[in-house]
């Protein structure tokens, strides 16, 4: 079978160990256009798959007639729910999502039928000829409609782990976190502020749409090349749906055009495999942009109510919160999002009395699940807005109030978990506050325009018809806390295979993991670790696939910690084996072999003092050392269902932002002039990549603050599935972003590192909104802040 543009080994002969800004092993391929993304896959005789989706958000499927579609020339298969060979439902944690809708559709865009044809346009046109008769059902769209008496129960007969504990069957999961004596604390509070906040539905909008190629194999199995975040969990869900033993479902990671959570759940994986197995031909599926907007889960929209009680001098006495997350039609990762929102809902502060509950609803809105910072993003917008209100109420400086209440190492989380690693919250705030402010009104000091006036610097740029007379500056601050890795007792691990051999006299390390590189630079770090631990210049990275053990998901800021940890540990075992062989074979050639502290450098075994004992070629000869090992972080425990107490998280990650905005309130225009960040990363494994992650997360938070929202309206339908109507920040919307990086080691983590990818996404949203509030005096309880919220029209 000819299959083109599948991933290849990434070989790099170079420098750059841990702590250096080593270059990406896939970098040259990416700038030359040779890097193969999932949308570039090709196989001889391949067919194209297309998905027919529901136009309604809640409807009974009365009948489906595929006759006409099947008669379209070029069509090879049409599949509906009735054709599913085995398990009909799947899900990350709760298998509540139909592979293809059966009797009922529960959200706009739900897959109903599949077509495979010899051309993508043929498949699309044939799908339009499938006749589906729907009978619309009443909609559940928010907490009041979901829990009203007589509300339609979207998933009757639930048997999942949470079903017995939820207050209503349309609640996926409910988690209270309670600590301290609330009545006593309330009596002590001298100042109380309450607020209600709302976040719209954000989309990950990775630039590479969902894509993959399924190839039927002679052994009856299937090989799937796909852009995903977690190969093994895809396989866990696929095997039962395909009715195949796990070994016959083989996945290989194809090039991933961004993820941010959107690829955590299955999208086209099962569909392409079903079509391939049915037709006996390779089947490629690529979502269009509008399909992508309904074809993956989104960030949970949320409504939050908070009450903060404090003493006159600004100490938090109690915090109450209620966080309602809209999970949409299927569970996806809602339970974990709820756990995060509840356990991190206080923010990075110390307060002995906390009463926070979070819950996720089942509704007929689009399903929501993982997106960068999940659960913590929603809470952060609310608790940071509250801290500003409290500061205003007390007449205190908002940074000082935060610093006064900031947690530090040794603090206790509302879950009772001790914070047993550095938590430099006050210091991060100081770093962003102490930066000089950017010069104001830069349009008046234009450089390079020849006119002394620079339109480009005005809020709205070209579309601002004024000379900036009405523009006001504001400055805002925020700080956030995110957990790293999988929490609440999950057996979280990663696996690395490391092979060392000498090829043509040169030692070569092969690193093989199933880690999904989605742009974060995990492959760079793997090569850096191998170079550092094995002292070898040439590192080859094997494509990620299911032939090696699971790496877990590229999410929860966990891969550098987990797969980095796995690569490191396996390298150390390989090194021990080298030293064992060296002692065995060459031990009497030099007394140094008997010493401790031998290590590998520049392709040789050296003593602690740096004396060379032997080349790896001498030690290994033709032998190959090839080991595969798992790595686990320290165990966590589930949160108590009643009070949320428990050692729930592995590690915490902190970031602070200062936003400087200029606002033309009359025109409803906002320009973020500067967004400064400070983050503790434990150890900057690759300083350049660290800054890139902080920039990326900060800008996605900025997007949520002022532009990004999936509009769900007109019967719970997605109304803006395009980049014209769903706005993501462009290069013009992106301010200067100075970054301070702290490296305070976490002794529990490999190299002392801290997961970094998500924390910057949290605080940038509230910092930007705080700055707009400072400029305008408006309350701004909802994000994204839209022009009409500023103009009051």
């Amino acid at each position: 079978m000819d299959i083109l543009r599948t991933p290849t080994d990434l070989a790099q002969r170079g420098h750059g160990g841990v702590g250096e800004s080593a270059s990406r092993p896939d970098g040259v391929l990416k700038v030359t256009g040779e890097f193969a993304y999932a949308s570039d896959l090709w196989a001889r005789d391949m067919l194209w798959g297309h998905t027919l989706r529901s136009p309604h958000a809640h409807a009974e499927i009365v009948s489906v007639d595929t006759t006409e579609a099947l008669s379209v020339p070029g069509v090879h298969a049409v599949l509906t729910h009735a054709d599913l060979p085995a398990a009909t439902h799947y899900g990350l944690e709760i298998p509540d999502q139909p592979v293809l809708a059966g009797d009922v559709v529960r959200y706009h865009g739900e897959p109903v039928a599949l077509v495979a044809a010899d051309h993508p346009e043929t498949a699309r046109r044939a799908a339009a000829r499938i006749r589906v008769e729907y009978a619309e059902l009443p909609l559940v769209t928010d907490e009041s409609t979901a829990t009203a008496p007589g509300a339609p129960v979207l998933h009757p007969n639930r048997s999942d782990h949470y079903a017995d504990r939820v207050p209503h069957p349309n609640v996926v999961h409910h988690q209270p976190v309670r600590r301290g004596d609330l009545a006593a604390a309330k009596a002590r509070a001298e100042v109380v502020v309450t607020g209600e906040y709302e976040l719209g539905m954000q989309d990950q909008a990775p630039l590479g749409p969902e894509s993959g190629l399924a190839v039927p194999a002679e052994d009856g199995g299937v090989d799937l090349y796909v852009a995903t975040q977690w190969l093994h969990v895809d396989r866990e869900q696929l095997a039962p749906v395909l009715g195949l033993p796990r070994e016959l479902v083989r996945l290989t990671l194809s090039g991933v055009g961004g993820a941010f959570g959107a690829r955590e759940d299955l999208s086209m994986q099962a569909h392409a495999c079903l079509l391939a197995l049915r037709t006996g031909r390779p089947v490629k599926m690529v979502y269009s942009r509008d399909e992508s907007f309904v074809g993956h889960v989104h960030r949970h929209p949320a409504r939050l109510r908070y009450e903060h009680g404090a003493t006159r001098d600004g100490r938090l006495v109690y915090v109450r919160g209620r966080i309602v997350l809209d999970g949409g039609a299927y569970a996806s990762s809602s339970p974990a999002v709820v756990g995060n929102a509840a356990s991190l809902g206080l923010g990075p502060y110390v307060c002995d009395t906390v009463d926070i509950e979070a819950l996720a609803l089942y509704t007929n809105n689009p399903p929501c699940g993982a997106m960068r910072g999940f659960g913590a993003v929603q809470a952060c917008f609310a608790y940071e807005s509250q801290m500003d209100r409290l500061a205003a109420e007390l007449g205190m400086d908002p940074v000082s109030l935060r610093q006064l209440n900031a947690m530090s190492q040794g603090a206790t989380m509302p879950t009772g978990q001790p914070v047993d690693a550095p938590a430099p919250v006050a210091e991060l705030l100081r770093l962003v506050r102490d930066r000089p402010l950017p010069p104001p009104r830069q349009w008046e000091t234009a450089v390079g325009t020849g006119t002394g006036f620079d339109l480009r610097a005005l809020p709205g740029g070209l579309s601002n018809t004024t000379r900036g007379e009405g523009v006001v500056r504001g400055v805002g601050y925020a700080v956030g806390i995110k957990n790293v890795g999988f929490s609440e007792g999950y057996d979280d691990y990663s696996t690395a295979r490391v092979r060392l051999e000498v090829v043509n006299g040169e030692p070569v390390v092969l690193v093989h993991t199933a880690m999904a590189e989605v742009g974060q630079g995990g492959v760079t770090v793997q090569a850096q670790i191998a170079r550092t631990e094995l002292g070898v210049a040439k590192v080859v990275l094997h494509p990620a696939d299911t032939r090696v053990g699971s790496a877990g998901s590229t999410s929860a800021s966990r891969q550098t910690y987990m797969t980095g940890g796995a690569v490191r540990n396996t390298c150390l075992l390989v090194r021990e084996e080298v030293l064992r062989l060296g002692r065995e074979r060459l031990g009497d050639t030099h007394p140094g072999w008997r010493g401790d502290g031998l290590w590998l450098r520049d392709g040789a075994v050296v003593t602690a003092g740096g004396e060379v004992l032997a080349d790896l070629a001498q030690v290994l000869g033709d032998d190959v050392i090839d080991l595969e090992r798992e790595f686990r972080h320290r165990p966590t425990e589930p949160l108590d269902p009643e009070n949320g107490q428990g050692f729930g998280h592995v590690q915490y990650s902190f970031c602070a932002h200062r936003a400087v905005v200029e606002v033309d309130a009359e025109l409803g225009l906002v320009k973020v002039v500067e967004l400064a960040a400070a983050q503790d990363v434990g150890r900057a494994m690759n300083p350049q990549a660290v800054v890139g992650q902080i920039h990326g997360g900060s800008v996605q938070g900025l997007g949520l603050a002022v532009m990004e929202e999936i509009v769900v309206a007109d019967g719970a339908r997605v109304r803006n599935p395009s980049f014209t109507d769903y706005l993501i920040p462009t290069i013009l919307d992106t301010p200067t972003m100075p970054v301070d990086v702290l490296e305070l080691a976490d002794e529990h983590a490999p190299y002392g590192l801290r997961g970094i990818g998500e924390a910057p996404t949290l605080s940038s949203t509230p910092a930007v909104v705080a700055a707009i509030r400072a400029a305008t005096g408006l309350a701004l309880r909802r994000v994204p802040v839209r022009p009409e919220h500023l103009t009051g029209t």
């Binding site: 270059s23 990406r24 896939d26 970098g27 040259v28 990416k30 700038v31 030359t32 256009g33 040779e34 193969a36 993304y37 949308s39 570039d40 990950q204 909008a205 990775p206 630039l207 590479g208 749409p209 090039g255 991933v256 055009g257 961004g258 993820a259 941010f260 269009s288 942009r289 450089v447 390079g448 325009t449 020849g450 006119t451 006036f453 620079d454 339109l455 480009r456 610097a457 740029g461 070209l462 742009g519 630079g521 350049q688 990549a689 890139g692 992650q693 920039h695 990326g696 900060s698 800008v699 996605q700 395009s722 980049f723 014209t724 993501i728 920040p729 290069i731 013009l732 992106t734 200067t736």
Partner: protein, 180 residues
């Protein structure tokens, strides 16, 4: 219907190679490059002219080639990201993107790189941008941002893209002297 009415013969010069193709009149240049000529460097991020991932150079000017019908390019000289290097070394813009780590997932990168090559040429030629006022040749980070604003990057590698394009500006000028 007579299939001759639906197809056209088109000659394209792509990255220096002449291709004579007969294709469906409705084919976009992006699909022709990706599906017929095996040049998958240009990416489809939206197919609607909204993201810039499909940016290539047609007769030296950057275009979103998902919006261009191939039949309209008959006789044109097309450069895709695969054709930027001279065969020996990378184009200065590609070098600068690598040196500045101006990407993460890289999906927007072929479009960003082609767009930067086109933008730098436009700036070198003194062509105004949408916000150019006065006669002074535009320059600097603000102008790079303005000119690169048609290329989305969801990973938001933007700060490094600005730096990379700035770095490349001088070296790119020499490069054009050497390569037509």
């Amino acid at each position: 219907m007579d299939s001759r009415l639906l197809t056209s013969a088109v000659t394209l010069r792509v990255n220096g190679t002449v291709h004579r193709l007969t294709l469906d009149n409705r084919s976009t240049l992006l699909d022709t490059l990706r599906e017929d000529l095996d040049l998958t460097g240009a990416k489809k991020g939206c197919d609607h002219g909204q993201c810039g991932s499909c940016t290539v150079l047609v007769d030296g000017r950057r275009v979103n080639c998902c919006l261009l019908l191939t039949v309209a390019c008959d006789g044109s000289e097309i450069t895709t990201v695969e054709g930027l290097s001279d065969g020996w070394s990378l184009h200065p813009v590609q070098e600068a993107f690598l040196a500045r780590d101006a990407f993460q997932c890289g999906y927007c990168t072929p479009g960003q790189v082609c767009s930067a090559v086109g933008a730098l040429r436009e700036m070198a030629e003194g062509r105004p941008s949408a916000v150019t006022v006065g006669t002074e040749p535009p320059s600097g980070a603000a102008e790079i941002r303005e000119r690169m604003s048609g290329n989305l990057c969801r990973c938001a590698a933007y700060p490094n893209i600005v730096r990379a394009v700035g770095d490349a500006a001088e070296r790119a000028a020499e490069w054009w002297e050497r390569t037509p």
